[in-house]
Symmetry: D2
Subunit: 312 residues, 4 copies
């Protein structure tokens, strides 16, 4: 169960109190505020707060463009225009704050996105919970032989069993030793009155990278979409991609017009190099172009053919 | 009159619609949302939206510090602790968005604070309004003779009259010529059907730096306070300081506990160098310390004596 | 003449002293260090310092990717791979510092790129020079009738003469009044001993937006290329584009492999939306697709046809 | 031995080649470029590249302040003025790039400083080395009983032995199982030809947080000093403080005038709140002030007395 009793009570308290505001309200998101969406075996994301909605993006764009862009029924068109032409500042006018529980090795990838505000649970101050990420069998993949940072086929049989057993045993043993060195049980009581207990800031180093941590993470809509463009992508590691996919659902609830434009012009879009564009024009003119005379490397040729849905 | 008819209507519309939310509501700020506070002769600030309140700062700090910091009645103490020890991340969890009208030369100082989101009215797209900042007579100061970037005594008599006349005439004439080059009147109609009209992106270069512009400006509470620490300070130029002072009132309405701690630990605080501290300890021990043997330069000695309320 | 005597001497001093270093040296750039490239009528850019070269990008990428990517002759391929797949962090490992003289209205666009370090000449401390940007006749364009932020045909005849005269007269008169209010001539001497002189921080507001300012501007290679992708683009205003074009030449001298990859994968690249890609696949399959049944708006259809070099 | 053979060769190659440059050279730093300074049991820092020196800070400040601040022999005074008054932009004009080897739990604290560029060794691409941080006996401290995030007395006897044994055994066993799951030995050869081997991006989750990682880290002088102000402080965790202390030595070699000013005005400085300042003035006036009537909390009173070198 991913949420502590205290957190459950906090959610119930927060959701029980509706208040009046004259701020913009994104109704669909407001209605699911505070509630956790489960991710992986013990993780979650839940929206704590947000600022702005689709209309706030439009309003900010209209401050910039002033008179002459007033037609009220053109919000969708304007948002699509902004997204297509990579205007970023109007999207920066919306903000969202999430509470996220995630394995430490995922947190290490995530934190590389620097344009966000973060408050992480501190293992210098407090003991961590006994929770580790153990992959579901379907996610237990071999190293890819073609992509140095990718996954290949799913492991099976004894090898899979061994891996799962090692991951479970090592994480559990190391956590037990962590508590043992702290000389503190889960309730914070001393285990052995004759021992001092190692400092928390040291003991934590014995934990494995699949131990769960949690943080508050706040970012603006532009940077959220940049995160999603990279992390909801097929090349992202599965364990961070599932968080991005849960956040895509949040995006739909929050700013449906932006989410639609994001799918069309970012997630589903492709970029072609100058050389690829030249090849494309020749193909469209009916010319038979082959890789060797294309000006593209074999790798790029393969990428272009895949993009165009053609056999390489 | 600082707000256009359209903006007035927008305010009335926004304030007329109260909606329910389960987000934290800062009541005192919510009640004054959208309303402009006048600043200088034609400027204003008005809060468009906000995220979080004093409790959100506390909540974020408690995620970091975990168990053991739960006592409910200690919010004020915790906020003061965070401010005193320059913990910045919990304050980053609140966000505010303002609509600001300000002279261009003030905007040029303001934009140097990079950790904010900005959408400025674009004079490439639209014509600017015929509004210039003309200092009130009490603000018409001579160059300081002791501070290369400061003001001295107030100008008086004929010199003051001349300055005001020049500022008014030059700004007005340049604006008239701007419209003339655009070949466009205030309603956007062509003045002379036989002329093409200069491109807006070029014509704007004829305007003076006291012409008003406007923008949406969004930042987090930490960076807002950093801005205020620099710009509500006596060394800041008067024309940006009045904006900072208006924003201090917003801070009080929004996050009263943070605002109190900010006044005590930042605005009213002083920093002493290692050498100053050494002098101070000698003074407290009853020693008679003079500048030459203090290890401080004359300038620093003067600063220290001023801080301690002593004659230099 | 864009550089002051003092700046000329500084350049000669700096270039006269060669020193040994074990840092990477980008020879072609090092040889042109400090020398100004003229831009517009009084502006310039000149490189003051730099860190890193093409090999530094490769070195940083290899720290990340570790063993297995060592082949020494693959620098070009690796840089092209990084650029194509939008890996940004290895490019952040190079840094460049420029001294730039530019009109204030250009500086206002430029400063919107926040991920840079800036030290601007302060008109609170010192008097500005009597230099204004006056467009060359070929750049004196009418407002575009199809693009709200673009230029149309070049102004001609009397209208062009009037515009140039107004720009010259207004900038000159306002600058004269600026000096007059300061009560200070170009050598810093008092004009009238009986007047106090207006504070510099106030007098500057009388200047026009085509007055030249100058700054040191420092950024990393990734953000430099992002700046160039936006500002060397045909949609950028001419007056900032010429600075970007001069910086593209700097890029070639500094990091030729990165510059080549940047031209292929960023400057010359196109992005197609999900809908555009679907249309493209149908076209390649020999289908006759028309705009109404394409799923694209008229505007997007026009953009796609232009990209593909086809009649809309 | 912290550096691999490849890295040793890279260092010898880099140091063997001196080249001429007209860029500013910080001789003392240049002479120690590339050489590692050992930190902790397997870590190091080494400077890879730098831009600028003390004179570059002065030069940038003089662009801002223009005429009137030219006296050549006043560099030290100007740098001290800039530091004392917290002018940050001139210090942003220098940049430094370090190669750092550090335990993952230290890297997790470090990365929270967001205004830096980072390229970290990727355990998705490559196998990590078998190196873990094991505290020296003198650093094996108990949890502090007065400071929730601090250390108390050094552990001794059997408890210390047990802790060291657990840390060693758990890190070693988990690393062995990591290699086992990868089915790869240290040379990258397959251990068991019948097994597929778990994907690297998954296997790494079994490692402990004291495993060493490495990265290139690049930042400007202003942000470097901000990092050092926080991390060379007595409140910082020992394991990151030793890195900060090694970097302080780098600072001395690179920009000795800035380093001196930094020690006087930042590292050795104290900040007093408005209430503390009021107490201080009363003390200096000879008044006997006690905590209850001081307006300070007990905690703040204690902090003030400690600052002033008085008994609380």
């Amino acid at each position: 169960m991913p949420l502590s009793d205290d957190q459950q009570h906090e959610i119930m308290d927060a959701r029980g109190v509706g208040m009046m505001t004259t701020r913009p309200v994104a109704r669909a998101l407001d209605d699911q505020l505070h509630l956790p969406r489960p991710v992986l075996d013990h993780g979650f994301i839940r929206v704590i707060d947000y600022m702005g909605d689709d209309a706030a993006v439009v309003q900010a764009a209209r401050v910039s463009y002033g008179r002459g862009t007033k037609a009220a029924n053109e919000d969708r068109g304007l948002i699509r225009y902004l997204m297509r032409h990579r205007h970023s500042t109007p999207f920066e006018m919306c903000e969202i704050k999430l509470h996220i529980k995630l394995p430490i090795f995922v947190a290490r990838q995530w934190i590389r996105h620097r344009t966000a505000n973060v408050n992480e649970y501190s293992a210098r101050y407090s003991m961590l919970d006994r929770e580790f990420y153990i992959p579901a069998p379907a996610q237990l993949a071999a190293q890819s032989s073609v992509n140095r940072q990718g996954r290949g086929a799913v492991l099976e049989g004894e090898e899979a069993d061994d891996v799962l057993r090692l991951l479970r045993e090592d994480a559990g043993r190391n956590f037990d030793h962590y508590q043992d060195m702290l000389n503190e049980d889960a309730e914070g009581n001393s285990i052995d009155p004759d021992r001092a207990g190692l400092a928390r800031e040291l003991a934590r180093m014995n934990l494995t990278l699949n131990t769960y941590t949690q943080w508050y993470w706040k970012t603006d809509l532009h940077n959220l979409m940049h995160f999603l463009a990279l992390r909801a992508d097929a090349h992202a590691q599965y364990e961070i991609r599932v968080y991005a996919e849960a956040m895509l659902e949040v995006l739909e609830a929050w700013v449906p017009l932006c989410a639609e434009a994001f799918r069309d012009y970012r997630l589903g879009a492709v970029t072609l190099s100058a050389q690829m564009l030249a090849v494309l024009r020749r193909l469209l003119a009916g010319e038979a172009v082959e890789q060797p005379a294309s000006g593209l490397s074999k790798r790029e040729w393969g990428e272009l053919m895949a993009t165009l849905g053609r056999a390489a």
